[in-house]
């Protein structure tokens, strides 16, 4: 089993966190994982992306160049990464902020109203967790419980009170792509 993700958006949308939670959760489930961010002279609010590889074998390249699963949080990222999609790949995209669809008929595009659902929940900052819930539902790569464990470890005791709303966001995201 090997799952490769490319997760992209703009800085502040929590795309790096989505990737880290996937990697941490899979690590706790006993898998080999790697998380590789784009790095460089990026400006605040500029583009951010990371590649996550989860495998039951030792991981070769931590980069994802032919993307089987793309998670796209903003429009520039959709334009940038659509050509790099593997044939038959899955693209989950944030339809709240993206008013176009990917220009490919050989991939499956799945809209997720991330910001809309997060605002309904009363916390716009959970839009990334809505997307994470959708990813978990569509790929089954780890369970929501494992992702929550990873989030708990990341948040630490100071932000523990935010765990319930983040779980709700994940569950809503999962329900949205059923």
């Amino acid at each position: 089993m090997e799952a490769q993700f490319l997760i992209a958006g703009f800085g502040g949308q929590g795309v790096l966190l989505i990737g880290q939670l996937l990697a941490k959760a899979a690590m706790h489930e006993g898998m080999n994982v790697s998380w590789m961010p784009s790095y460089g002279p990026e400006m605040r609010g500029g583009e951010a992306n990371c590649a996550v590889v989860i495998s039951d074998e030792p991981i070769g390249s931590p980069l994802v160049t032919e993307i089987p699963i793309a998670v796209i949080m903003n429009k520039p990222s959709m334009i940038k990464f659509t050509p790099a999609m593997e044939k038959g790949g899955i693209m989950l995209y944030n339809s709240s902020l993206i008013d176009i669809t990917p220009d490919r008929d050989d991939i499956t595009a799945i809209p997720v109203d991330c910001n809309g659902i997060a605002e309904e929940l009363g916390n716009a900052r959970t839009a990334n967790m809505v997307m994470l819930g959708a990813i978990l539902k569509k790929t089954g790569v780890v369970t929501i419980d494992s992702a929550m464990e990873a989030l708990k470890a990341t948040f630490g005791p100071k932000k523990e009170h935010l765990l319930p709303i983040n779980r709700q966001a994940m569950e809503k995201g999962a329900a949205a792509v059923e």
Partner: protein
């Protein structure tokens, strides 16, 4: 072994150094290694006897390393390619004065300021000395975050054992990537020689000679003797410190030689080539100097050909050719400037060799 943590290569190296007793860090910022000084700046001031200092330049930083090493401290600096070039003068002095220290180079694309993306184009600089004069350094090339941790811890012991700098050569990918890590519990080695040479303050009647830290030998016959002594140490290193990993080389027609990041990509290519029925093996040098020539020479007895893969225009390939000694063809594939080769590209290279019967 502790609990598994997801850590960035740079941070894991910094923590491993602290675990190994490193208490002094001098550096200057440069991408893609900034998490090493950042981590050290948080941790070292909180540790008794710990000192982090962001120097005014790379040249200053390496000379601070020189000073701390001369006083017998466990000391480290880190940088990336252009910064390592600036440190070369100091490194040469440190070797000349026979002092231990650990230097990390997270290599980026060059020449010049180049790019900030992963590269391996500092191989010549790392393995052939880099600064002026006759010298070598142990060069360790991790290919995972876990290995980076283990090699960093060991680097301090090796530096002390040989009184010589040890270079850890990674790249932007090893530094920036997060992978699961178990931080081994560090045990102080008891077989290391005491640092009787350290300049820790001499007083009349303190029972020892003055400790003189110096790399200047005006009399050529004295300098020649000194350099011969350094090369006696290097001969021991060549005999005892050479490390590599071999996979599926026994029956391999094609042997890929690659290190660091490139080796892990080559390993994926090897698996897929094996599945296609092309008998491929991998030799991964872990020490770039001393270079593991022996396993390559051995594989040359039965393999049809070698393919060296690097993130450079071809530097290690020279060492592979020396090891093969003309017995079999040695081919090269590389990407440079910050481009990481893909599994597909490596597969295509080997497939073409197999097709052409090379």
């Amino acid at each position: 072994m502790g609990q598994k943590m997801l850590m960035k290569g740079n941070e894991a190296i910094a923590e491993a150094a602290i675990q190994a007793g490193c208490r002094f860090f001098f550096g200057y910022p440069i991408t893609p290694q900034n998490q090493i000084p950042e981590y050290m700046s948080k941790r070292l001031p909180k540790i008794e006897g710990g000192c982090f200092l962001q120097a005014e330049s790379e040249v200053a930083a390496i000379n601070m390393v020189y000073g701390a090493a001369g006083a017998g401290a466990r000391v480290m600096t880190s940088s990336s390619s252009p910064g390592i070039s600036l440190k070369q003068e100091g490194i040469s002095y440190i070797v000349g004065a026979e002092l231990p220290c650990v230097i990390v180079n997270m290599v980026r694309g060059g020449p010049g300021l180049g790019s900030i993306q992963p590269a391996q184009s500092d191989y010549y600089q790392s393995t052939r000395g880099g600064g002026h004069g006759d010298y070598r350094m142990l060069v360790l090339a991790p290919s995972s975050v876990q290995e980076a941790v283990e090699l960093t811890q060991e680097a301090f012991d090796l530096a002390d054992k040989y009184r010589n700098p040890v270079l850890i050569m990674g790249d932007g990918l090893i530094g920036q990537m997060m992978e699961p890590v178990e931080m081994p519990e560090h045990k102080d080695r008891t077989d290391l020689p005491p640092k009787t040479w350290a300049a820790t303050g001499w007083k009349p009647g303190c029972g020892r000679d003055r400790a003189v830290i110096n790399s200047l030998y005006i009399d050529p016959s004295v300098l020649e003797k000194h350099v011969n002594h350094l090369y006696e140490k290097y001969a021991v290193m060549e005999q005892t410190e050479c490390r590599w990993q071999e996979e599926m080389t026994e029956d391999a027609d094609y042997v890929i030689v690659a290190y660091g990041t490139t080796a892990r990509i080559a390993r994926s290519a090897m698996r897929k080539l094996r599945a296609e029925g092309i008998k491929t093996g991998l030799i991964r040098p872990i020490t770039l100097w001393p270079f593991p020539a022996a396993p390559i020479a051995k594989a040359a007895e039965h393999a049809k050909a070698f393919l060296t893969v690097e993130m450079s225009m071809g530097q290690m390939v020279d060492d592979v050719k020396l090891a093969v000694d003309g017995k079999k063809p040695v081919h090269f594939f590389g990407r440079t400037g910050g481009i990481v080769p893909t599994v597909r590209e490596i597969i295509t290279q080997v497939e073409n060799l197999a097709k052409e019967g090379k």
